[in-house]
Amino acid sequence: MQQQIAEIRIKGSVQGVGLRPCVWHLAQEMALHGEVCNDGDGLLIRLYPAAAATGFRERLESRLPAQAEVDSISIRHTRCDAAPNGFRIAPSSTTPGTTRIQPDLAICPECQTEIRDRGNRHYRYAFTSCTRCGPRFSIVEGQPYDRERTTMAPFPLCPICSDDFSNPHRRRFHAQAIACPVCGPQLQLLAADGRLLAQQDAIHSAAQRLKAGALLAIKAVGGFHLACDALDSAAIVRLRDFKGRPEKPLAVMLPDLEALQLRCIAAPAELELLTGPAAPIVLLRSRDGHWPGNLCDGLDRIGVMLPGTPLQQLLLSAVGRPLVMTSGNVEGAPPCLDNDEARTLLGPGVDALLLHERVIARRIDDSVVQLAAGQPQILRRARGYAPAALKLGTGFEAADGVLALGGDLKNAPCLLRQGQAIPGAHLGDLANPRILQQLQQSGIDLASLFACRPRLIACDGHRGYHSRSLAQRLAERQQLPLIEVQHHHAHLAACLAEHRRPLDAPPVLGLILDGSGQAPDDSPHPLWGGEILLADYRHCERLDGLPAVAMPGAEQAAREPWRNLLAHLERWSPDWERLRWPSLDALRRQPLATLRGLIREGFNAPPASSCGRLFDAVAALLDIAPQRLSYEGQAAMRLEALAGRASAQPVPALGPPAGPIALDGVWQRLLGGLGSETPERLAYCFHHWLAELLAQRVRALAHTYHCDTLALGGGCLHNRLLLEALQHQLRDSGLMLLAPRQLPAGDGGLALGQAVVAWARERRP
């Protein structure tokens, strides 16, 4: 005889978060029958008697696991042949559908306790995990998330683990990545020549070597780290030489919070980020004198993280001091992903390699986060965040099948699926063909893991971008429409999308402060980078912006800040040569006739309204920019750091606004202050003057165009002082300020903007 049962469907990020055990326990408590399983659409519960479903849902909602992100719970009644008896967790069904994959999670407190407990069978075991922690995205090979479709498949569970896995009363019930010393992956410490140095005591042995100044390659979650003692400047020199990274700051990992607070100043919100499940690199104020000078390029902030895996916890407590933990690659090349690659590429530069047998399914770098204007801001989105989905605003419910390839630097792709955006993990500079290959792979990967066939490809309009060439090839091969989205419109739209602005909401003002991107064809200058835009998802109009100034030597000017100083001086203070000041004296020794020729003739000196190049120019003026940058953003970061050392006295206002933005006033004050003010003070004032200029213009335009919202974007918004100064200048403007938080303000967030613009334009009304 047929029985009525209820089917409860739960959608969202609900697999691998301990939801099935939670359902099971509740069913036991309520003495209900039926089953629960993961499938391609999320979680499916069959419940008998059906009448209990509503009450069941209410109680379930009140006790969802912390990691679960539920989008919807729906109930429908159906019939089955026989009433179920008892409640069980059924095997997953493999239909591809809509469910999400979790980011990798840092080790939880219970597992931390276990690996330190002599009596526990996970004592000192480097691959301990449970339903609440451990690897996820980095080991997933297919959907749904079950052990056989992860890189843990080659490690069959021992009887005790097997029992843990199948017993609903244990905290490892249906935890797909669990392992123990008997059945799980093992560590190996190898010499550079492949000789086995240690196995059982690999961590201890690695720690001894690190303490003695050695360089190690260490297998991490989504890649390898190059590690050395972060207090040993000689070891840092060796690491920098090998990595080909002369000055760019290196991230460090500290054993625990106590060690961290000894050497850094962290606000409560920063501590929360550090100890949260994503365990990102957080940029913190370093305490003076606590770090070697060659660690952070003289900047007063340092990227720190806490040990996020059992392996890192065991290693760091054995070392007992901070370690440099930088990505395991030579600068410009993608990080190593497997043991053989690490031995070949990193072996020659390190003293030993700490390896293990768990395969990395895909590259996921460490994420970078900072606190800006009191709130977290993700600067590099990867481990711990990817591939979490972002909800989009009203009107995007049907957004689906859009793959956006992002920009060329700090590249990361983004997929739109079922009204949500799924940003892929950070990849890097596509000038490297292997990273371009990873982008192609990542697009395929996102599409297949999330069971979403792209129907539309989006990319930047820059004719020299490698990402655009790849997009053209993909679109051609799969016969898909390709939509090019202007760089700064994409920046703006990314910010709108992140803040769930509805599709048909009225236009907003956008203030995009960026390096440079190709302008639309009808623009009077070919490169933009400091624009005030009026835009919605579909349209974008430039209202004003920084005046365009030549970039003599084109891309060379993005590497050599003094070129921008020259171009700005020639434009705003042509009699600069009479001034005496170290940076100006050095500038006079450059081949000025030739450089002026380039600017005058417009020969390889494209005019750009770039905010980034303005920062370069001011950094060069204040003698803190190197002749040639050794990493992107170096001059601007040093300028922000310089300003941070000034006393925060009020900055005299520039004066009343006068129509379109001009920079002569700012330059006059900077040049006029060279002798009388400290460089710190000038750097500080510059941030405020720029914010004042932009804010005044924004206010006027908001009034003219009846806008109540200002969206911010562009890489310069990673500058905290500038963001805070803008907020301060606009505090009583009545404008709602939207700043990028979940995704980088720079090109790392570009793909989201491209995706939503492309979809909005392509959608049939």
Partner: protein, 339 residues
């Protein structure tokens, strides 16, 4: 200065002044029997042996300034067309030479330029057998434009071309790259670039003659407009393969490198006028390189890379630390990618 020494529109009118110009001042420079017959066409006795093929090419030359360190528009017009023949494996036989002269060009200048053109053609064993002269009003041309066409013969045993490219074959460049482009830039007075930059303008026939005797030669191109980069992209596209280069092996003169640094240019994208790129069987590359080194035109030759199965970038340079970088196909001015 008298008008008699400058060219006027009358010199191109077909009348007496033109006849005088041709007979007295131009034909003697080229001094050969075929041209001397003064028919409306050159009559050529060419009998091809079985398997031999004719090669035929044309090119127009416009350059500012007309004379530059290492050459002039005359040597350029001769060598440009000669080289287009010889990189196909053809021995050059006959050239045409058509002039478009801007009114006011000094006769002396024209004669000197054409004397250089004639000398280069003769040195390659070829003859200028037909031509044309036009004079246009001031402003309608820039001093002098020259068009040359050339006919050569490809020996039966020679089969060069992109159809023979394959993965694994090696790429050789015959000398330092970018010299011509740098020399021309250095002539632009508004860029105020002095320095000892000399064009590489030269006829490649003497070098290629020797290379054709070596086994394993698959394809050649002279790296003119768009520089070596353009040729590499042509090779990659035609063969459906990718190019991998070793940055350290690419020969660039310090002066050219310095100029490129200052102006923000890539030496691989600067034009050459006497450099060729050769694709050679892997096992023949070393001997070919020796052979090239034996000739003064190839003394700076280098093995710079190879063709590999297609990757997602057509041309890839391996630099310091073995890190790779894609070279975009875009020639000319490239907007910065750095954001």
């Amino acid at each position: 200065m008298t008008d008699a020494k400058r060219l006027t529109l009358a010199h191109g009118s077909g009348g007496e002044p033109m006849q005088q110009l041709l007979h007295q001042h131009i034909q003697p420079l080229f001094d050969n029997a075929i041209l001397a017959r003064q028919e409306d066409q050159a009559r050529l006795n060419m009998t091809l042996a079985p398997g031999e093929r004719l090669a035929f090419t044309t090119d127009s030359f416009v350059v500012t300034p007309l004379c530059f360190p290492g050459g002039n528009i005359g040597t350029l017009a001769a060598n440009g067309t000669l080289n287009d023949l010889v990189v196909g494996g053809a021995r050059p036989h006959y050239l045409s030479c058509a002039l478009i002269i801007e009114e006011g060009l000094p006769l002396e200048t024209l004669q000197a330029l054409l004397a250089d053109l004639a000398r280069e053609v003769r040195a390659a064993g070829a003859l200028v057998v037909t031509g044309d002269t036009k004079v246009v009003p001031r402003g309608a041309a820039d001093g002098l434009f020259i068009n040359t066409s050339g006919i050569g013969v490809i020996p039966a045993a020679v089969d060069l071309g992109t159809h023979r490219l394959k993965a694994g074959c090696r790429l050789l460049v015959s000398g330092p790259v970018g010299d011509h482009g740098a020399a021309i830039l250095a002539c632009r007075r508004e860029l105020a670039l002095g320095g000892d930059l000399i064009s590489d303008c030269a006829s490649l026939w003497p070098l290629v003659k020797g290379m054709l005797e070596e086994p394993g030669l698959l394809a050649m191109r002279d790296a003119t407009r768009g520089g070596v980069n353009a040729v590499l992209h042509e090779f990659a596209a035609a063969a459906g393969l990718s190019v991998e280069l070793e940055e350290a092996a690419i020969p660039v003169r310090p002066a050219v490198r310095g100029l490129c640094e200052l102006l923000g240019l890539d030496p691989l994208q600067l034009a050459c006028e006497g450099r060729l790129l050769a694709a050679v069987e892997a096992d023949a590359a070393e001997r070919m390189l020796e052979r090239m080194h034996a000739h003064p035109l190839g003394s700076g030759a280098q093995l710079i890379g190879r063709l590999v199965p297609q990757r997602n970038s057509a041309v890839i340079v391996r630099g310091l630390y073995g890190v790779e970088r894609s070279l975009p196909a875009v020639s000319g001015e490239l907007l910065p990618r750095i954001c």
